[in-house]
Structures are given as C-alpha cells and as structure tokens.
Symmetry: C2
C-alpha cells in the first residue's frame, strides 16, 4: 500500500491532532500525490457537526491546515529529488491559514481535500487547497507553510 | 453565574463541535462580553498537540472561528438593544476565516481568545481576534460572519 506523506514523519513529530499517525484521538489525515496535486480523503465524525447535517468550520480549517503542511513537506522533498524517509527530515509549520466557506459542507460523506503548490520561496511554501463534497467544491483555502528551522527540528527529534 | 453567548443558542443550534453546549465530545467554548471586547477561555486537551509542548493550529483556528461567530451574534443583539434569549434568534455562519500564527502556542495552559468587532455591514460582521497564552499574543485572526438567512434558521429551529 502506498505510504502517505504523514507516514514518513519522525515519530516525535507524529502526534499532531490533525495528521499525526500516533495521535489515537486525532484525525490522522493521510495525504498523497495525485500528479502535481495532492489529495487526502476524510470522513468527518458525527460529532464534527456545525448545524444539523453540516460539518463545522473548525474541522474544515484543520483539514486545510494539515493537508497544507503535508503538501509543503512533500514538495520540499520532491524539489530535492529524494524520498520522504531520507535525512535530514523536512517539516513545515503553518504561518498563516485562510479559509473561504463557499457553501455548507455536508456531514456523513467522505470529503476530498485537494492541494496545489502556488509558490515556493526560500523556506516558505504557499499551498492553495479546496474541499470537495459530493462532487461540489464547498471550501477554498490557502496555507503559507514555513520550514521548521533545523535547530528547532534537531531539538525536537533528538 | 453569567450566561455565555452560546448558552442562549436554540437547542437545535447547540451541537456545534466548537461551541455547542449540547455536543458532549466538542470543545463547548463559552464567550462573554468584556467591555467592548469579547473573551473566551479554553484549556486545550493533551491530544490537541502539534509538536510536543504546543497546540495544533487547527484547534486555534476552531477557537477563532467559534468565538468569532459568537461575538457576531452577541453584537447583533446588542445593536438591536435586546437580550440574547429574545426572539427571533440571530445566528451567524462563518463566510471566511484568516489566522496568522505569530509564535508557537504552549499546550497545558488556559488560552484567552479575545475579539473585537471591526465592521458591521448589512448582515455581515467582521471580527478581529487574538489568542493570549501566558501573557503573550501567539495568534491573530479575523472572521467574517454572515447572519443565517431567516428562512434557513426557521427551517432549522422548526
């Protein structure tokens, strides 16, 4: 089975509530390449409700956030032409997040979160994203992700 | 004890994962007036981790989101000079959300989410917000909240 971007994160960086594979209570989102775009598929839980029948905005923002940092990391490895389990590890933190809620997102269906890199500049990657529910785009978003400084990353993984 | 904005929401609109008092698994945030600003205090759970020691960005976005729509609703009632438990109910949905992560937000301390209305225009309220942890502003955000159309609200609460 194809490994997701998040499956390559070092253990100590795998506890994120949104995308950490080791966070048992978290969302554990999994992001993959799909050509030049990235994709993650998530079925929100019943408790992720806003008003009856619809997903709450904070969850949608979380999906945009974690899929965005994952896309940024995968892009950085691809740019260096090396696999995601090679050293040194590259990880990204969110500097800013913008989400436009175009229409209510239905609860109870698998959501597809898609991403595309808009700009790479120094250690900063801008990712544009959109969420598709039942064939319709309900949310658009943008994440500016910044590569974690090597010194901080070393401190975390040591 | 002073009631929070969210304590006045009709039952059917009180299941939001972020701010619904009836969502047993949710965050149940409570927002109050503090002069012309609004404030909510939240202690994130241990699982709301990003990297060790810090809160994950999706939760911070959720807090900005729900405190923002709560602030918009409270502002609308205040503008009409009537209490939040009077009819008709006024509720707001998020049209857009912007979050700037200025510095890592520590996990394990109570966060203070503060809001201030920047603009009210027709049925749209823009709320600027910031999150304070241990006396420092770690996050700034902005929510554009739109009043739920009467027809949709009637459908939901009927």
């Amino acid at each position: 089975m194809e490994k997701a971007f998040q499956d390559y994160y070092p253990d100590v960086l795998s506890y994120c509530y949104g995308c950490g594979r080791l966070n048992e209570k978290g969302l554990q989102i999994k992001s993959f390449w799909d050509g030049d775009e990235t994709v993650a598929r998530v079925l929100p839980r019943p408790e992720h409700i806003a008003v009856p029948g619809y997903v709450y905005g904070g969850l949608l923002a979380s999906l945009i956030d974690c899929h965005g940092t994952g896309t940024a990391a995968a892009t950085a490895y691809r740019a260096e032409g090396r696999p995601m389990d090679s050293s040194p590890p590259l990880r990204f933190l969110t500097a800013s997040l913008h989400v436009d809620y175009l229409k209510p997102t239905p609860l109870g269906v698998v959501l597809e979160i898609r991403g595309r890199v808009k700009e790479v500049k120094d250690r900063k990657v801008t990712v544009e994203e959109w969420i598709v529910a039942e064939g319709e785009i309900t949310v658009k978003g943008e994440v500016i992700a910044v590569q974690v400084p090597d010194s901080l990353l070393e401190k975390l993984v040591s």
